[in-house]
């Protein structure tokens, strides 16, 4: 008799969490979902301003999965997720404070202390797999070749620092207490319902309305654009949960990287932005101007904080215009995982269409 697999999904009301639950339910898993209550969500996220991480409780209601609200930072609230239940076949730990606007104290509390709390309970209650969501951001900048999973960490901002710290806690638990850990390091995620991250880029291009395509010289300085469609990401998570050889390993999860020049040309077409200005630029001159742009964005960030609202562009996000983020997805492919959206343009086309139909872009 086929036995139903059981999964615990944290961060279930977030963008990725919702997709994770949808796929698990579709594939016949029994799901327990957890997240903060809506009113508690606001204590961690500043919701004043245009764009901020969203909270989707309707997915859980629609799929009729068991929902147990909990706060990662309060271990006692996590116990009902485990107590009196058979061990989970997999815990998909998606919950994280993914907010570039958040202060370090809050990031540390949620992302580092929070992960320790849930991972200790996973060990205590003998979860068979612990699939953890990290980020490509832990690596920092690439030089002239794509970064693989063995690259040392050099996180460039507070959010990525908290994720790097989170991984250190988990790898220690893996080594010392046998946590059945697999770490996924996704590139910026997009897909239906997505509203924070890649959406900012599309939203900014649409609001600006005039396309600027930059070609860098020398050509080896061309910046890359890493991204992953949420469908591929949640598929990769289940794929890892079903392959025991992934225990104790980490995987970059992203479509094949294409250059920012190619990506921008594609995005202007997809968004219907007709006027495009091409600027070929010598790399040191570009760096000089991008530093000025970063200073202006930092200044706006300070002003926004004083007013208690979010800026339109978070400073770390603007780092994508100055830093080389280039990652390899070879390890996961070598394991046999097949991406649906190997070319990010295919996924972005679907996502942009989805957004346009809803008046989001």
């Amino acid at each position: 008799m086929h036995e139903e697999k059981r999964a615990l999904v944290t961060g279930a009301c977030g963008f990725t969490g919702g997709h994770m639950i949808e796929l698990l339910v579709k594939e016949g898993w029994e799901v327990v979902a957890t997240d903060l209550k809506r009113e508690e969500h606001k204590q961690y996220y500043c919701e004043e301003g245009t764009l901020h991480p969203a909270y989707y409780e309707d997915i859980i209601e629609k799929l009729k999965v068991e929902f147990i609200p909990a706060d990662l930072t309060k271990k006692e609230t996590l116990i009902p997720l485990f107590e009196g239940k058979p061990p989970y076949d997999a815990i998909f730990h998606i919950a994280s404070l993914y907010d570039y606007f958040a202060e370090w104290d809050v990031l540390y509390k949620v992302n580092v202390i929070g992960v320790k709390n849930i991972a200790e309970l996973a060990i205590e209650y003998k979860a068979k797999r612990f699939i953890h969501w990290s980020t490509e951001g832990v690596y920092g900048e690439a030089e002239d070749s794509p970064i693989d999973e063995d690259h040392p960490f050099n996180p460039p901002n507070n959010y990525s620092k908290s994720k790097a710290e989170q991984e250190r806690v988990l790898w220690a638990l893996y080594k010392e207490k046998g946590l059945p850990l697999t770490v996924l390091r996704p590139a910026p995620i997009y897909g239906p319902r997505h509203r924070y991250g890649v959406y900012h880029i599309l939203y900014a291009l649409r609001r600006i309305g005039t396309g600027v395509v930059i070609s860098w010289y020398p050509r080896k300085k061309t910046l890359m654009f890493p991204s992953v469609h949420v469908t591929d990401l949640v598929r990769a998570a289940i794929f890892c949960a079903e392959h025991d050889e992934t225990i104790g390993k980490s995987y970059n999860v992203l479509s094949d990287c294409i250059t920012q020049t190619e990506m921008l040309e594609f995005l202007y077409d997809a968004l219907g932005i007709k006027k495009v200005v091409r600027i070929p630029i010598y790399w040191p001159i570009y760096k000089f101007f991008s530093k000025i742009a970063m200073r202006i964005i930092t200044y706006l960030d300070r002003r926004a904080r004083k007013r208690g609202i979010r800026p339109k562009v978070d400073v770390p996000m603007a780092g994508y215009i100055t830093h080389q983020y280039w990652f390899s997805n070879k390890r996961l492919k070598d394991l046999g995982f097949k991406y649906i959206y190997e070319d990010p343009r295919k996924g972005l086309w679907d996502y942009i269409t989805w957004c346009k139909e809803r008046g989001w872009l």
Binding site: R207, I208, G209, T210, I297, L300, K312, T353, E357
Partner: protein, 124 residues
């Protein structure tokens, strides 16, 4: 041939003002308003040159300066009027956006959203 010295700067400024009014208001009434405006101002400036050269007065009655040039140069100069209008308009479109939803290059440098919400694609 007599030509207005400040015709080109004037057309750039008028083009810019028209572009702003078009992008924020007129576009929703009729997308052809931009063509109407460019035609209206170009014809107005051409008419001014034509009259001033035919009846021996000065363009804009000499208020904005007059220059006497070779007829060939003058003709090219006058024919370029719609291009200067468009050039001025395009700069303003880039800075402030082309539709009420767009905010142009100013968008990243401000804190509040001023653009109108996007409409679903099948309604726009």
């Amino acid at each position: 041939m007599k030509v207005g010295l400040l015709d080109v700067p004037l057309l750039i400024v008028i083009g810019g003002i028209c572009a702003y009014i078009y992008a924020k208001h007129l576009i929703n009434r009729n997308r052809d308003w931009y063509v109407f405006l460019i035609l209206f101002f170009t014809l107005l400036f051409w008419l001014n040159i034509l009259i001033s050269n035919l009846v021996a007065s000065n363009p804009w009655f000499g208020i904005f300066g007059v220059a006497k040039v070779h007829p060939l140069i003058g003709t090219f100069y006058v024919l370029s009027y719609p291009l200067w209008f468009s050039w001025g308009a395009e700069r303003i479109f880039q800075i402030f956006g082309r539709t009420p939803e767009e905010e142009g290059m100013l968008w990243p440098f401000t804190l509040r959203e001023r653009g109108k919400p996007f409409k679903p694609s099948w309604k726009s």
